[in-house]
């Protein structure tokens, strides 16, 4: 939902980033206001995931230019955990397995850590149990999930549900969901997408990083951005995603090169 007077959440200005001296992001501009859903699409290797990880503070990426403001604060000066506490959430494409630590203990640890940092009440194990089970119903998760080790031996669908459950617990102002649709069958995709829709409010923003249009059948974006070669080369509304689905990405890149001959050399 686009509200013209909605407060600005994220402002990315000319962001450039490299990994091992190789430039991946070459000047990204992106503005996300409260209530908006943005989709970032593009072919493999276009820099979509790097953008998501750079905003979240992944240490492998060296920011070589530009700035990122989150609710007016300079994000790039903050370590990843502070960004998370400030309200940024990254849904991982490949969530990490932590064998030996139960989900219930892990979820309560991250919940209370973030609550504490935000000056809000922490929950004891019994209170948390009620709280988390309510959130789990949102994602149609089986109760035995709490007793299992974090992501260990989970199917692709279970891992992605767990990501969205963590999003539900941490109540971010900005959720960046990296390929949340990959590896999901159609039923799991519907459940996960419904969960995200229920968590979306007028106060938070969502950035969906995705390769395919099918997720956007369930979560309707306000803006669709196409990335290629480390840049956003086209921005449109939800109809752009449908056009990409039928025509592919090549025509966007050709259009961009025609309009920006200097970009070819980069």
């Amino acid at each position: 939902m686009i509200g013209k007077d909605a407060p600005m959440l994220l402002e990315v200005r000319g962001l450039a980033a490299k990994i091992n001296e190789r430039a991946i992001l070459k000047g990204i501009d992106l503005a996300v206001r409260a209530g908006e859903v943005h989709a970032i699409m593009g072919p493999n290797g276009s820099g979509k995931s790097t953008l998501a990880r750079a905003i979240s503070g992944h240490p492998a990426y060296e920011v070589s230019g530009g700035e990122v403001l989150f609710q007016g604060r300079k994000l790039l000066d903050m370590p990843p955990e502070e960004r998370a506490r400030a309200g940024i959430f990254l849904g991982f494409q490949y969530p990490v397995e932590v064998p030996g630590v139960t989900n219930s203990a892990f979820l309560r640890l991250i919940y209370n850590t973030v609550q504490g940092a935000r000056g809000k009440d922490e929950l004891d194990p019994l209170e948390f149990d009620d709280f988390v089970r309510e959130k789990m119903r949102l994602l149609e998760m089986s109760p035995d999930f709490l007793d299992r080790s974090v992501n260990a031996g989970f199917s692709g669908g279970e891992k992605k549900r767990n990501e969205i459950l963590q999003m539900a617990l941490l109540e971010p102002r900005l959720a960046i969901l990296d390929e949340t649709d990959s590896g999901l069958d159609i039923d799991a995709l519907r459940v996960v997408a419904n969960g995200i829709n229920k968590l979306h409010t007028a106060d938070n923003g969502i950035v969906l990083v995705t390769h395919y249009q099918r997720l956007l059948n369930y979560i309707v974006p306000d803006y669709v951005h196409v990335m290629d070669g480390g840049r956003i080369i086209k921005t449109g509304d939800k109809t752009l995603a449908l056009e990409l689905e039928s025509r592919g990405y090549d025509w966007v890149a050709r259009e961009y090169r025609a309009a920006n001959p200097s970009a070819q050399a980069a």
């Binding site: 240490p59 064998p99 030996g100 850590t113």
Partner: protein, 433 residues
């Protein structure tokens, strides 16, 4: 030989003069034989291939006293209680302490000190005691056998299955004393049992534990064996575990190492019949100037054997972990299926690990996999946890804990697994220093 080595060996073997006579002729002969071996063998040094990473000179500098068998407050043992156990044998500095032990309550399992076992089960003891552990090349195993006068004996009679574990608690109270704990476990045909060997200190400082454990697993029997080494951090711990398995037998081992300044565990498993399975998990969590050495040998002597081994170490401070995992597949041991993994995490730049898989295969139709990794905690995993708001320190502690917990959580005695998990959690933080 250095002066320190000479003096050490002299004091190590000194108790022979005060040793009471053996109650049976066969035991007398085996002790005498072992004493002869011990006197003939040199003290191992880093010049020996088997000891090249483990320098025992701090042990050789000890001014060893014979253990006096100090008294301890029974309440102090509460910390180590295992509510699940059906019986507990307590040894203080290697000597049986009947007043601290609790007898088996009607499970049919024989859990007795050596003297009783010699009377009631002399035949079984003559077959296995000082017959499984080899004394010909190891001076420490030889010394233990030479002074054999007390032991924990566990016998699961043919066909019986004991679900509840037996707890053998070895308590060290001495200062620069040497103790020679001894354990014999026999699972007769078709029997199954679980034994927890637990090495702890109550007041012990700079002492030397030299233990030998022999395990006989007869046809189609199963032994689940947990060894917890939580000695004082000034102690020296030398352990020889020898296991002999017969046809269709199963052996499951968990060895956890937290304590001792220098520790060495020689685990020798012989698959002496067909279709035997063994699974061996090890964990060493050390720091400071601790050294923890595990030398294992799985001897596939017959066909259709299966073995699985996972050895993990977490090394902080200037700690040093050593793993030498030998898998021997003899010529007749066709269709052996063996897999070994050594995984190691170094928490500091001063921490050190030497790991060496050693495969010797003389059969042509076998499957033997092995792998070793040494590294820091994975940066991607740390980032995942930090992206959920956890601090760098909490993220690293949680991942270290998870790494160690993979071994501990499989231990089949729940209260022990939980206690060990708490220890790991508490120590992960300080172990980084």
């Amino acid at each position: 030989m250095t002066v320190a080595e000479t003096v050490f060996l002299d004091t190590l073997l000194a108790p022979r003069r005060a040793l009471p006579a053996a109650p049976t002729d066969w035991l007398k002969a085996r002790r005498a034989d072992a004493l002869e071996r011990a006197a003939a063998l040199p003290a191992p040094t880093v010049r020996d291939e088997d000891w090249r990473f483990t320098d025992l000179s701090p042990l050789y500098r000890l001014q060893l006293q014979p253990a006096s068998g100090g008294s301890i407050d029974p309440a102090a043992l509460g910390l180590f209680a295992l509510p699940e156990s059906s019986a507990r044998l307590v040894f203080v500095d290697g000597r049986h302490a009947p007043e601290l032990s609790t007898r088996s309550d009607g499970t049919g399992l024989v859990v007795v000190p050596l003297a009783e076992a010699l009377e009631s089960r002399g035949d079984a003891l003559q077959r296995h005691l000082a017959a499984i552990a080899r004394c010909d090349a190891d001076i420490f195993a030889a010394a233990n056998t030479a002074f054999l006068q007390d032991a924990a004996v566990v016998i699961a009679g043919a066909g019986m299955s004991a679900d509840r574990p037996v707890h053998v608690l070895q308590v060290a109270t001495g200062r620069e004393t040497a103790a020679h704990p001894r354990v014999l476990i026999i699972a007769e045909h078709g029997a199954a049992c679980t034994v927890v060997e637990d090495f702890v200190a109550i007041g012990g400082i700079g002492y030397f534990t030299n233990c030998v454990t022999e395990i006989a697993v007869e046809g189609n029997a199963e032994v689940r064996h947990v060894k917890i080494q939580r000695e004082a951090e000034t102690a020296f711990h030398m352990a020889n575990t020898s296991v002999r398995l017969e046809r269709d037998a199963r052996y499951r081992n968990w060895s956890v190492t937290f304590g001792a300044r220098i520790s060495r565990h020689n685990l020798h498993i012989r698959q002496a019949g067909e279709a035997i399975e063994c699974e061996v998990d090890g964990l060493a969590l050390i720091s400071g100037r601790q050294l923890a050495d595990t030398h294992s040998m799985i001897d596939h002597a017959s066909a259709l054997g299966r073995s699985r081994q996972l050895h993990k170490t977490v090394v902080g401070g200037a700690g040093h972990a050593v793993f030498n995992g030998k898998i021997l597949v003899r010529a007749g041991a066709q269709q052996t299926d063996s897999a070994q993994q050594s995984r190691n995490i170094l928490l500091t730049s001063r921490a050190h690990v030497d790991t060496k898989p050693q495969l010797e295969i003389f059969a042509d139709d076998v499957k033997c996999a092995h792998g070793a990794t040494v590294g820091q905690i994975d940066a991607e995993e740390v980032f995942y946890l930090k992206s959920r708001g956890l601090s760098e320190e909490t993220a690293r502690n949680l991942l270290t804990y998870a790494f160690a917990a993979e071994v501990i959580e499989k231990i089949p005695v729940k209260s022990l697994a939980q206690a060990l998990e708490r220890t790991v959690l508490e120590h992960t933080q300080e172990k980084q220093q």
